[in-house]
């Protein structure tokens, strides 16, 4: 009694500003000055790939992408938009969870047999991720949780998110609740942009984002820009190429272990593992032990692995999952079902990469719909038969 507890401060509206497309170079320079290495989308190998950005000219100005099941092509855009593309084959996973990394090396003294183990000191690169889509922003969070990493706060990459106004044909982030907007996701980004007519609405999401914006030429938000950009993001929600069945997928998958539809998918699935490689949240790894020719220097490397590999669940005597059906079931059930049990969220962020990069065009949204229909058919009252 007598202690006055202040009511929690009502969060004031975030700081917003407008920057012109020409200021993107200033943004990259400000980030570099602050000690970050900017990486972001650029055109390479006939796709939008992620790479170091020497200047804003490296960004894919005027390039879009056309996607479909088993299909991805770059397109030209008349409007010159910088972030007018949907997800490319890579994701931020390649920086946060590299495809291959050394765990340790070991040296054995040939005379005494004594062994010394050492880890390579990691020289941490402070990345600035430019152009992170809301789906991929969610994927960063999901991936870090799966890798049981603490929240990295200010030591983590600087994130410039770009809200989505133009979803692709394989996108379904509206179904997973991970897009197309992200301006309300406090603490997940430092700056969030919405692109419109060679200008960007900027929303500040962190104190370090605030400091960077100060170093970039910017203006006040013109009248109507906030409303117009919000409307564009909201409109994108209704233009998703795909959607998930409106059911509790965790429940559906828990009761679908013996579903007949797995045989149908297995008849098409090549078990190539492409879906797991392009997935921004698939985190599984394997290790490889090597020695040099003297036999006295050994190394242990970690690399991405896939649950589609027959040796993935190997035990002496054989693999636990020999059939393609069981491996596809493991992947889909983990991603949309048991991920909830393990990490409290879905493992899918609706980016659609697994659909575009499946060589036979298997579409998770269609497979889940088919499983849902099978479950519904099984539980429906069989009135016809009863008669």
């Amino acid at each position: 009694m007598g202690t006055v507890t202040a009511a929690p401060a009502r969060p004031s509206p975030p700081r917003r500003a407008m920057i012109a497309v020409e200021a993107l170079d200033d943004l990259l320079n400000a980030l570099r000055t602050a000690g970050y290495e900017p990486v972001g989308p650029t055109v390479g190998s006939g796709a939008i790939v992620l790479d170091e950005l020497a200047s804003a000219a490296d960004l894919p100005h005027g390039r879009g992408s056309a996607t479909g099941p088993g299909h991805y092509r770059l397109t030209e855009r008349a409007d010159g938009a910088v972030f007018g593309h949907s997800a490319g084959p890579q994701s931020w996973k390649q920086y946060l969870h590299p495809a291959r990394r050394a765990l340790f090396s070991a040296d054995r003294d040939p005379a005494t047999g004594e062994v010394a183990l050492q880890t390579e000191p990691e020289a941490p690169v402070r990345y600035a991720f430019i152009g992170v889509r809301p789906c991929d922003l969610a994927a960063i969070k999901v991936l870090n949780r799966a890798l049981r990493r603490p929240r990295d706060g200010d030591s983590g990459p600087f994130i410039v998110a770009v809200e989505c106004t133009e979803p692709g044909a394989v996108c379904f982030c509206a179904s997973t609740g991970t897009g197309p907007g992200c301006a309300d996701r406090d603490g997940e980004f430092d700056l969030a942009l919405v692109e419109t007519d060679h200008r960007f609405l900027v929303t500040v999401g962190s104190p370090r984002g605030d400091a960077i914006l100060d170093a970039v030429p910017h203006g006040t938000v013109p009248e109507g820009m906030l409303e117009a950009t919000r409307a564009a993001v909201t409109a994108a929600e209704s233009r998703m190429g795909r959607s998930l069945p409106a059911t509790d997928l965790r429940v559906l998958l828990a009761r679908s272990a013996e579903a007949g539809h797995w045989d149908d998918v297995a008849a098409r699935c090549l078990a190539c593992g492409n879906c797991t490689m392009v997935c921004p949240t698939c985190f599984c790894t394997s290790v490889e032990d090597t020695t040099d020719l003297t036999g006295d220097h050994a190394e242990r490397w970690e690399s991405w692995d896939s649950c589609f590999d027959i040796d993935f669940a190997y035990l002496h005597g054989g693999s636990v999952r020999t059939s393609t059906k069981s491996r596809y079931r493991q992947w889909l059930t983990h991603k949309f079902g048991t991920w909830h049990d393990q990490f409290g969220t879905s493992g899918c962020v609706g980016c659609g990469r697994c659909i575009a990069w499946c060589p036979v065009g298997i579409d998770v949204t269609e497979e889940l719909t088919a499983l849902d229909e099978e479950a519904a058919a099984l539980s429906a009252p069989r009135t016809e038969e009863a008669r």
Partner: protein, 282 residues
């Protein structure tokens, strides 16, 4: 991350032959030892340049001198290298990982240990632990099965376990003729499945906790038999085996439904494990 993936160095101090393909290794730390283990936990053991495998600990957790005892069956490159490791060899150890048998939770109850083959190795720590505070428990019974007489582990310990108050029963699938002498291997105990011996142990279903370790089919079969005898699946504890590589739930290999066996197992109760094991290729 690299800290938990970097092994600590241990030296092999002893390598005892158990059976034709199985050895028991004693390891002593060269670096700061790994934290003390609980019975039923496992470690990841690294052999220089060959690789790393999960091994359950087979030594007594009451021995707190930082040494580790592992019983290894040569079934692959790493386990074969370990079986042939001379005393003095340096290996790497990470851990201890996973859940434990938690025998202290069964204080005052009857205990039944049922092992199949090398499954007796992970059950040795809780058995030794129980026998060191024998008065805390009711009946303590051990049923151990192996394919043939010469594949039985720790037979030289039966007398000591019996003297300390355990009823020990052993069985084999068959007692084949020795290829040299063409005579059957000497075997005076039973021939048959471990479940055939259940009538020969004092079983008060509601007062008993059972610990099963062995091939999956042996554990589910024994679990079914014990359930039929009136035991509750929550009182039947099993140790699962899946492909465990990291030990810390980040490599993804050991998943069994919602579980990471290296974190939520390997030891778990049958009421939890049974529905998972019932689905083929899960």
């Amino acid at each position: 991350m690299s800290g938990s993936m970097l092994p600590r160095r241990y030296r092999v101090t002893e390598n005892r032959r158990d059976t034709a393909d199985t050895r028991t290794l004693c390891l002593a730390p060269l670096d700061e030892p790994i934290p003390h283990f609980r019975s039923g936990q496992f470690t990841m053991v690294y052999v220089f340049g060959v690789g790393e495998i999960p091994l359950s600990i087979s030594g007594c957790p009451r021995v707190a001198d930082h040494t580790l005892v592992h019983t290894v069956r040569a079934v692959g490159a790493v386990s074969a290298a370990l079986c042939s490791a001379e005393p003095g060899t340096v290996v790497g150890v990470r851990g201890p990982f996973g859940t434990d048998w938690a025998v202290e939770r069964a204080a005052g109850r009857d205990l039944l240990f049922v092992a199949g083959g090398i499954g007796l190795a992970p059950l040795r720590p809780p058995l030794l632990e129980v026998l060191s505070t024998r008065r805390d428990y009711g009946f303590v019974s051990v049923i151990a099965g192996a394919r043939t007489p010469s594949e039985h582990l720790y037979r030289d310990e039966d007398e000591g376990w019996t003297a300390r108050g355990a009823r020990v029963l052993r069985t084999v699938d068959r007692a084949p003729a020795d290829p040299g002498t063409r005579r059957p291997e000497p075997w005076t105990d039973s021939i048959g499945l471990v479940t055939d011996l259940l009538p020969r142990v004092p079983l008060r279903p509601e007062r008993t906790t059972a610990y099963l370790c062995g091939p999956e089919v042996m554990m589910t079969h024994t679990g079914t038999a014990l359930t039929k005898l009136g035991m509750h699946p929550a009182d039947i504890v099993v140790s699962l085996e899946r492909n465990m590589r990291c030990g810390i739930g980040v490599c993804g290999h050991c998943q069994l439904g919602p579980d990471f066996v290296c974190l939520n197992g390997a030891v778990t109760t049958l009421d939890h494990a049974e529905p998972l094991l019932a689905v083929g290729e899960l």
